[in-house]
């Protein structure tokens, strides 16, 4: 099974957008200023998401999973690590580490399907499935390589 919390920092996607859990008086910061991290974040640009100490105000800790009706499923056996999906993902939801595509951050993916569209492999390494489809069933339905039509 693919780990849905793949490469997640502890707090990834724990909050609902517009959720009630943070509403209060003490959480109203002076000047409505939001801090992105806890502690010293000087070298954040050189830290991967899972190494960062995100604050509760960082949208990394929120989820938009409920926006999806369909989800992209990743098939690592077909992927050539071209990183097209990484560069064009509008939701920072392609998890690439050390030039390798590892999978999808389902807390932040909205199911737009751009990654599937830009995937150049044959068959595609990313395909859309119903939100409730489990990974094994999805992978078992993966199409064969298409022959080029003449």
């Amino acid at each position: 099974m693919q780990d849905l919390k793949l490469k997640a920092a502890e707090k990834r996607g724990i909050h609902q957008l517009g959720g009630d859990e943070l509403v209060g008086w003490d959480e109203v910061t002076q000047g409505i200023i939001l801090t992105s991290f806890e502690g010293d974040a000087s070298d954040i640009v050189h830290k991967k998401a899972e190494e960062r100490n995100y604050s509760d105000f960082n949208s990394y800790t929120a989820t938009v999973a409920s926006w999806r009706v369909k989800k992209p499923v990743f098939n690592i056996d077909v992927c050539i690590d071209c990183q097209n999906c990484w560069v064009w993902c509008p939701d920072t939801s392609i998890i690439s580490r050390d030039k390798q595509m590892l999978g999808i951050d389902y807390d932040h993916c909205k199911g737009c399907e751009v990654c599937v569209e830009v995937c150049p492999t044959n068959p595609k390494s990313l395909l859309m499935f119903g939100e409730q489809e489990d990974l094994e069933t999805a992978l078992s339905q993966w199409p064969e390589k298409k022959k080029k039509e003449k």
Binding site: V87, P90, D105, E117
Partner: protein, 317 residues
């Protein structure tokens, strides 16, 4: 200056994003593709200002921020001025030595949609460009006021349907041509001005890096296809951008020091503009017989503009 490798996508993908998910931009929105690419182009500290617009209302709704760097939004029209102020303060504090880290390399960036760039914030942008602050202004041009539900802007192309320039029995949509913001910015004698598109990720990344590295005010117009208001399937954002650049509806070029023009992308096969128009709901009415002349006019405009760009490139003036 610490720029990151854009030799190929694999290298580029080793960057750690500083623009986080769970923002509330529409699925498939090109804004975030462009913002991510800008932030991944450099290792430097960034101070970013955003005008009011889709990007701003979707990335900083209390109690969440999607920005992993300093970010400020004041109003609809003044991101260029906000960043001017911050840049001036950076200089003043550096002189006095009151910065937390006096050696930090900092880049100043402002984002605006076409509404704030071409229209309501035009004066503020022009002022900041003229004053010569060291910053880069990036327009996320989706050719309409998308945040308020798709009204016309002066970036909306002729013939497009918007809620305030409607196509109907007596109208073919917007009557006026798009304002040439790139030429206007180049006329400010800016050291670097460009028009870029997210489908050509490498030329976009190169352009961003050039702008960040260039001292002085730089301006970049980026095409940002809007699935909601242009009326196409979200999955097609990059496909539509390909059509925009391959029909030359949106040519990719840069202008250095106000005059040296370089075309950055020449399509091998230039496609007829119908292919671009037909892919979007906002141009659907143009395919009625009575509106055929509008398509012809659009094609003519494209041809003339492309001709002009090529001549200017050749002339080097």
């Amino acid at each position: 200056m610490a720029i990151t490798s854009i030799k190929n996508l694999k290298e580029f993908s080793t960057n750690n994003d500083r623009f986080e998910g769970a923002h509330t931009l529409c699925p498939g929105c090109a804004h975030s593709m462009i913002v991510r690419e800008l932030m991944n182009c450099t290792d430097d500290n960034l101070v970013i200002a955003s005008n009011t617009g889709c990007l701003e209302v979707s990335t900083a709704v209390y109690p969440f921020t999607s920005w992993d760097t300093s970010w400020i939004h004041i109003g609809f029209e003044n991101a260029a001025t906000a960043v001017s102020g911050a840049e001036a303060m950076f200089k003043a504090r550096k002189k006095k030595g009151t910065l937390k880290d006096n050696d930090a390399s900092v880049k100043f960036v402002a984002f605006g949609g076409d509404g704030s760039t071409y229209d309501i914030g035009f004066q503020w942008l022009s002022g900041a460009m003229e004053r010569g602050h060291d910053f880069t202004y990036i327009c996320l041009d989706n050719e309409n006021y998308a945040n308020t539900g798709g009204q016309r802007s002066s970036a909306t192309p002729i013939g497009a349907h918007t809620s305030t320039a409607q196509a109907g029995t007596h109208s073919y949509g917007k009557k006026q041509k798009k304002k040439d913001i790139v030429a206007i910015m180049a006329a400010h004698d800016a050291p670097y001005v460009a028009q870029l598109a997210p489908n050509k990720w490498k030329s976009m990344a190169k352009g961003f890096q050039k702008a960040l590295e260039t001292e002085g005010p730089c301006f970049i117009n980026t095409v940002s296809p809007c699935c909601t208001e242009w009326k196409f399937d979200p999955k097609d954002t990059i496909n539509i951008t390909d059509l925009a650049t391959d029909t030359l509806m949106f040519p990719i070029y840069e202008i250095i020091n106000g005059h040296e023009l370089n075309i950055l992308y020449r399509p091998k096969n230039v496609l007829p503009v119908e292919e671009y128009l037909a892919a979007q709901g906002r141009y659907k009415h143009l395919f009625k017989p009575e509106n055929k002349h509008v398509i012809e006019e659009i094609q003519k405009n494209i041809n003339e503009y492309w001709e002009m760009l090529q001549r200017r490139e050749e002339a080097r003036v």
